[in-house]
Homo-oligomer: 185 residues x 2
Amino acid sequence: MTRDREATGERILAAAAALFAEHGYDQVTVRMIASAAGANVALVNRYFGSKANLFATVLITASTVTAAIEGDPGRMPARLAEHVAHRLRTGASEPLVRMLDRAGTSPEIRAVLAARVEAGLVDAISARLPGPQARERALLATVIILGAGSLRRLLGPDGLHDADPAVLEARLETAFRACLAPPGG
Amino acid sequence: MTRDREATGERILAAAAALFAEHGYDQVTVRMIASAAGANVALVNRYFGSKANLFATVLITASTVTAAIEGDPGRMPARLAEHVAHRLRTGASEPLVRMLDRAGTSPEIRAVLAARVEAGLVDAISARLPGPQARERALLATVIILGAGSLRRLLGPDGLHDADPAVLEARLETAFRACLAPPGG
DNA sequence: TTTTCAAGTATACGCTTGTTTACTCTGGTG
DNA sequence: CACCAGAGTAAACAAGCGTATACTTGAAAA
């Protein structure tokens, strides 16, 4: 066994990211992470301080829907609709939403997640919205993004598996547009 | 202490309902329930078999958004919008959504919740939708309902606390209408 | 009053959790 | 080669969980 602290740390981080996204914070134990990473249990706490801190570290690197948020703000509803529709139909999960959704109820974990959602979704969206009440509108769009994650996880992809993608996207785009449109427009 | 099995059982049930809605399944222990009900720990399992079974029993009696779902289907989007807007602004939580949202990740618990959401939301809505693809449309509306619960719990009511209720409702109504409208309409 | 049975109690079992401690091993350095 | 900082390990810790057991108590029936 080659002894390489950095490599081991990254194996732990990668294993934790995969497991947290798959099963959620509560359901994942440090022993699971260590086992998946091929490392000893003690190293998880040794290198990351605590499970909660490891989770926070994972969250920083977790990808978000930024691809759908960035770009021409006018087409953001369409991109978000496509993103959400794809997730609803296929079951491919946005890691951040998934972790959020599967996160436990521990207050500190929720706080970490809330901060991440604020930064990665609400702030990212509202920063690109022209006009007043940008945050309020961004929050409404976040409702749909989060709700899609909840629904999919709860009921599985079965419900919308063979829905017409075009119709689904059209509905969602209208919904997103209603959320995001400037007031009075 | 008056000895009354039925009354004790109901005290346990009521305490469990309140605690599950407040903190979620995972975060509530049978000891907390027993303590809040003024009953002994052992009675919880004695009367309800298991914690999971108690949760299932609580769910059956948990109220839902039925008031907003029932009535003239044409005005369902408006009623749902009002319901969700009210929750988003004030923080008043629908018990079922709250429990769902705060539920843990245990598969059996999720299954119980999924069944309840299917019956109380998806089926209830789709049964009142004229036209084809009723279930698909009901699922999209459920996305918003669940998402509102997620967002509110995660970020608190601060974000939309002082948003204009009328504007909020109007946006949500349009969104709900986009989800629920018959195809091709 | 005495009997009796279920309601209620105290306690501990078995297990899992995150975390820590004390140890062993290894590879690079003098 | 001898050495040693540090990577990796094994084992146990304390705490908390759901649950089961064996016991005590109280009120209604005889």
